[in-house]
């Protein structure tokens, strides 16, 4: 199988989306020249080119693309070539209305934006694959092309009849017969029993709360059917260019697809990440996305999209200070990225994203923004030795999509409990404690980790439960968050309200969930929010934090910790740092100030100062700072500065 290394070949890829179809051909030569001046190595081409490549059904207008690829190749710019299947041309929807997605309320969504395709539509798939086939045949061996980029941020959902048919097939495979389906969905509740497959389908608009197991299975199906679309394209591409790695781009904490399942089918795992410059914890969110993507990739990965400055889809789109651009780039490399690509090369003058920043902004090259881009293009080659190396992490964080889909349904104890903020809170506590973490699927091999943390695993399969128990039995430390182990993989509440094996492991029995609607005081200072529980502690279970009224907030049973609430950041950090310390897991550098990030990758130590204060810290020995090419025995960082240190 081809891999990212076949594309990087010792360089950190640098570049971004390039949409030449938006520009007159005379601009292309200027683009190539400016890319070279900016140190760009790689352009992602063709993500939204379907209508240009196939302006009428069956047409193939590939000449312009060939000219673009030739020009880029002549200029020394490599290409990540995209299949344009994320945005069909208007004619497809007109010719086959069934390719247009339908909402749960029955509204058919139209062209005029993007993403207007039903993943179950045979018509869509046929047209998409025919074009991919011809694209691959035409360009799969073009010397500029070094990677395939399939579709874009997979996510469309449809509720049409054709979707219902595929969903039924999927359900037959998962559950077997109708009786098993009724059992798995608990249709005895509210008289929802199906006596025929013909009444089984996606959850449609209904008078009241939907069946949660149906919703859960539909979300599983939606992810699987998108994965089918991906693998179908991938297989075509592989036939034509077996040596080119294939990727598709994820987003941070993206709920639509199970990224574990997708990653398993990709040669390269890549991420689109847009931390909000207005978010004081943007670095935590970025780190989480990077750590999760690296974990899914099982090694180096590609930042496929990021923003040079502002995006255009938030309410208020803050510009990104230029020093943050560099820090974010180095942070991605530190956490395993071997490629840094931006959306997009040249700011669009038209269309829905014309206010999205770009490597080449509207105001042109003579701007602080573009100068920062060029500086980054000069700096990245200094770090070339990091390419292909591993990031050092002894902590694993459990994260799971079906759990997410089950947890955040309607009709649950508290709609204040969402998985993404929980995951961010836990990741932030680890980040604050200067601990680097991998992410793991709940059923994944945990043997290489001393400490496993589970922010939440409401839905825990039997194998997941046994996996955690085995980790503890091996002497591993476990910290589990509240409302974990409550349901099995069909979202059926486990007897007793929490899996018995986990109750034994953690030494607790939650007798009643008591969600909080505001922060509550903890004994000894600090607060906790979101949740509390009436908890029965087993013998030998120690209460390590409690609410002001005496209710347990955190417990320890041997090496197994349970958090019955979400403590405020400082308290959560202390609890996790304590568990890590006891498990023998320590920061990469002692004495790091708050807001200074240190990550070890390969033989290098990346230290990033996210604060506005300078940092001075003695090192244990002499190091070379690759960014300055100077040797030093101390860490010296300017405000928002960075160092990449190699021990000498």
């Amino acid at each position: 199988m081809p891999s990212l290394a076949d594309t990087t070949r010792g360089r950190i890829l640098f570049g971004g989306d390039y949409n030449p179809e938006q520009w007159p051909e005379e601009t292309w030569a200027e683009d190539v020249r400016l890319m070279r001046e900016a140190g760009v190595t790689t352009a992602t081409v063709g993500v939204f080119s379907w209508a240009r490549l196939e302006p009428v059904p069956g047409a193939r207008e590939f000449g312009w693309l060939r000219r673009v690829l030739d020009l880029l190749h002549e200029g020394g710019i490599e290409v990540c070539l995209a299949t344009p299947t994320a945005s069909p041309p208007p004619w497809l929807g007109e010719l086959h209305p069934g390719t247009l997605p339908v909402t749960a309320e029955g509204t058919r969504l139209h062209w005029g934006s993007r993403n207007q395709w039903c993943p179950s539509s045979a018509d869509y798939r046929r047209h998409a694959l025919a074009l991919v086939e011809d694209l691959a045949a035409a360009f799969g061996r073009h010397p500029a092309v070094r990677m395939w980029h399939v579709n874009n941020e997979y996510g469309p959902v449809c509720h049409c009849e054709e979707t219902a048919g595929r969903f039924r097939d999927w359900l037959r495979k998962r559950h077997g017969g109708l009786d098993a389906l009724n059992e798995a969905w608990g249709t005895a509740f509210w008289s929802q029993q199906h006596s025929s497959w013909s009444t089984v389908g996606p959850p449609l608009a209904a008078p009241y709360l939907p069946n949660p197991a149906q919703v859960l299975d539909f979300r599983r199906f939606c992810s699987d059917v998108l994965l089918e679309c991906f693998t179908a394209e991938r297989d075509v591409l592989r036939r034509h260019s077996p040596d080119l790695p294939v990727t598709t781009n994820f987003m941070t904490l993206y709920p639509h697809v199970d990224c574990w399942a997708f990653a398993a089918e990709q040669d390269v795992v890549s991420l689109d990440a847009y931390p909000d410059p207005a978010d004081p914890r943007a670095a935590v969110r970025a780190a989480l996305g990077q750590d999760m993507t690296r974990s899914q990739a099982g090694g180096p990965w590609v930042q496929m999209e990021m923003a040079a400055s502002a995006v255009n889809w938030r309410g208020v789109n803050r510009a990104k200070p230029v020093e943050r651009l560099r820090l974010e780039a180095l942070q991605a490399v530190a956490r395993g990225a071997d490629g840094l690509c931006f959306f997009q090369w040249r700011a669009s003058r038209q269309g829905a994203e014309k206010f999205h920043s770009a490597l080449l902004p509207h105001a042109g090259t003579d701007t602080p923004q573009h100068r920062a881009v060029r500086a980054l293009g000069r700096e990245l080659p200094l770090l070339a030795e990091v390419v292909g190396t591993e990031v050092h992490a002894e902590v694993a964080v459990v994260f799971d999509w079906p759990n997410w889909w089950a947890l955040e349904q309607r009709g649950r104890p508290s709609d204040r409990v969402d998985l993404a903020p929980l995951a961010l809170a836990w990741h932030g506590a680890l980040w604050d404690a200067h601990l680097t973490a991998d992410y793991v699927h709940p059923e994944a091999d945990l043997t290489r980790y001393r400490l496993v943390v589970v922010p939440n695993l409401y839905l825990a399969s039997d194998r997941a439960v046994e996996n955690l128990v085995a980790h503890a039995r091996r002497g591993g430390t476990l910290v589990a968050g509240f409302f974990t182990g409550v349901a099995d993989d069909q979202d059926t509440i486990r007897p007793g309200g929490m899996d018995g094996r986990l109750r034994d492991l953690l030494g607790v029995h939650p007798l009643e969930w008591r969600p909080l609607d505001a922060p509550a005081d903890l004994a000894g200072g600090g607060t906790a929010d979101l949740w509390s529980e009436e908890l029965r502690l087993a013998e030998g279970t120690e209460m390590i934090a409690s609410f002001a009224d005496g209710m347990p907030a955190a417990t320890r049973h041997g090496r197994a910790h349970y958090l019955a609430t979400l403590p405020e950041p400082a308290v959560l950090r202390r609890l996790l740092a304590g568990a890590a310390d006891a498990a023998g897991v320590h920061p990469e550098l002692p004495g790091l100030p708050d807001g200074v990030e240190a990550v070890r990758r390969g033989g290098l130590l990346f230290v990033l100062n996210h604060t506005a204060a300078p940092v001075h810290l003695p090192l244990s020995g002499p190091h070379r700072n690759l960014l300055t090419a100077r040797d030093t025995a101390a860490l010296q960082l300017a405000p928002h500065g960075a160092a990449v240190l190699r021990p000498m």
Copy 2:
């Protein structure tokens, strides 16, 4: 006619919804054993069993239900048997799409939840009644069955063509010809005149504000058509089991149906009530629901559903402290309940309500929650002598559904003025003043009440107006809230902006409505909110409260009081207590502290301490406390404690 007494037979019913179809048959025996241990007398069975009873069209699978009823009967548990017509099986919607309700925007709502039926659908009714017929024939004389429970929380609304047809029939009956309809709806406004019955129908999605009289009539129709569904089922049941009383369950302040009209057709009136444990005024809301249900029943009633602890349909679902569970149960008995049933017996492991608490929680019997349930099961029989007795009340509160439907439309003076919070504010003031109130329909006989209060009666029929005038003429005291008597029963503004008879009675003429968008100061302290009016006072009308700027806030004209605003709780309490006192209406006990509730029912005085402080109060003579079986000359209540006193 059978009545509740035929079912209670001297006991307070205790139990709840029991859904054996959600459990394997081996669980049933355990359920019966645990019910007995918990003191359960009554199980409501079959509320959502349609799909299990009729898995395919026309099938009759009654065997399992017979086994359940037999088992319960052997265990000494009586059954309130439900018709399962609130949630049709999926096959009904597939076979007859016209049974599925349609929103005003034209979206058809599907199965997969519950309540997916159009009350006007002949297909729905035919299938529902056929099943009810067979159920009644099969189980109407089963020895376990002691009451019928029809459907569940009637409320579905539909906007389909079949609904339009029935609505036209209803309108023809109400208004006669098309000219009268046009007149009643004021269709001269905005060119809405109908020249043919075919254009008359439910209010559908429209560009701007709908016709308010059309909306009002449609809501009346929706209530009536649901009542038709109820009486059709009731009549079938009566044919088969003339000795069993029939009920359907209301909810507190439930806007969908006119509960006065429904109550008139029921043998037993019952209530589902879920005060929010997070609401500091939950006891007021509970009392209001209980008083209204008792008034609709004209005597004892049944609490058909309540929660042992948290529900699952709020944003944050707070658990209920165990002492509150007992207080709420005793409060219901004090205010007339002869039955206390919970949703549900055993917590569901699947489905949309698996996080709703139950008598038997997920965590099992060895929990504080279940122990509190058992304690209640032991305590209720101590109060058996209260069964069948009346509650003592000399105050009547006027409440009316058409008024509600007219008041809360779009395009009115203030969308901050809603009837439910107004009703709660007035009920809270009476509760704070330790006064027990009945509820009355505005046209009901008022002769037994010294004091009649009208939180709001924006829409007042001529008979309602005359009823209030007659009450005053008889020497009764009246306290009327703002924006009362404004419209007639077709929501036509009365000449002068307020009915002339009421203007004479109250001695006021509101010249202009001046809604408030924030509380305003009253002269002499306190605030008022929601409303003010430019008011002309007739000669002899006294201003008893005013705003800081001198505008009248409350007036008195003889025994007729008018409140031109909503005073803050303490002020409203003072005003109502003053009017009551002058009318000779006093609390059941003198000197009661705030938050302590005293209600006289039959020969017993229930005293409930809703505060966290102990209460000590001398009594006028020796009493026996039924809960402790001790005699005492003083009231001694622990925090959240209760006493049920019989004078000796």
Copy 3:
């Protein structure tokens, strides 16, 4: 062409909408009598009378209307006769469902409210014009009728197939061929290229952000197609009564139609204005609407609707103090109104607007509200000499609808930046500085203005840019707000991110937009909000205000000012007053206190005290106050008082 002067004939029109069809015929005579007593000159009749005039298709029931007009004429009340085409009868929607508008989601909107018509529907137009034809024939020469009022507040939007067809025709005219359309819409972005006209249509519900140029063109089309409806009716009316002026009523800051284009087709321009009595800046909003309407009219105009007190369509509808009613009326006259009409004469007892105040309120004539109406009716004739005269203004404010439609789309830098609040902020600053302004289309003749201000002109056509440049070249002063000159008239970003000619003129180049999500401090005190920019200043550009961090907030380059943010009111007032002063533009009176408005119209000076304090100010010479008929050498105003001064 007939003009407003043909209707006013030396009088200020006074009256309002009169809907006799809502009342029994016996009320009509009382209405005429009470109108006379109130000084009413003019009644607008028939705005919503379609169903009464044509109760079934093709019928003509004109008798009642003739009787009404005769009665009014006999009573000396003149009539502004309306075409009733804003609210078709129910039968039209039933007969031709295609006349009912369809939302972007595909929901068809029904009758039962008003406005349920598709402007593109040939069926609608045919029925509407046939009725207008017959109305004009029947009443175009009735002696009571002095003006035509077409339709009402044009605004309906539809997304149906017939609309799509007309939209395509419109696009062909605007853009020519499909290639030009694709170019203009930037369909290369996101693969939106149309290869056939059949896929071109209105923006329908889609999965993500729509094409902004498509949205912009659709809004242009919607305005144009409504204008087609207007001119079609107007042409019919002109044929029958060439001497009667024709109007239709706008609303303040109404986004649906381009009022410049509409005004050009009207004989009389008129305005419906409903400033919120709860808004402390209501006088500014009123002034803006009046100034804009006057500018569109190019002279005197008519206030076609205003409220005597509360409206009924806000959340909380505040009553209007009677002194405000008079001030608002005089303000309209001061700013060019030659007619003051109210919605409506007599408060409706039924329908969706029965809580809207009226000249004759529900509570009748013996009310402060009606007494204030009569006082106004007595006062207006004192000002008759102002009729037909011009308002004195040396400042022009640029305002443009396509800019509005382009600016407020999804996916832009900040959704906090809306044009209406921006326009109000700038108008408020001018008002605070006691400067009277006209409004101008960006391509209009600017030669008569010393100072031109541009709150925002994000979308600026080449002609608009050249117009502003020419103004400056002539020595005029310009003050331009942030984010101006960014896009061309197809919403394509101009090279460099701001038009080069404007960059040269203003001496600035915005390098990056940095929208604010909260107010930021300015150096030297005060704050600014909404926006900031990284700005490069050309040589000779002076920074006249800056943020606390040194970033430019306002600059001056010769006489061209640029505001890179929205300063708080006091700062914006100071900046604009400074620019005005330097340009030789001064208030009508020196030394005016805050909140006192002085406007010169014809030979009269209107001075309005919007504060609760009395005003005393010496005048430069003796004046006669027309309101008191007294001579004075000083301005003396009671709280909320007014004076209309003629120099002697």
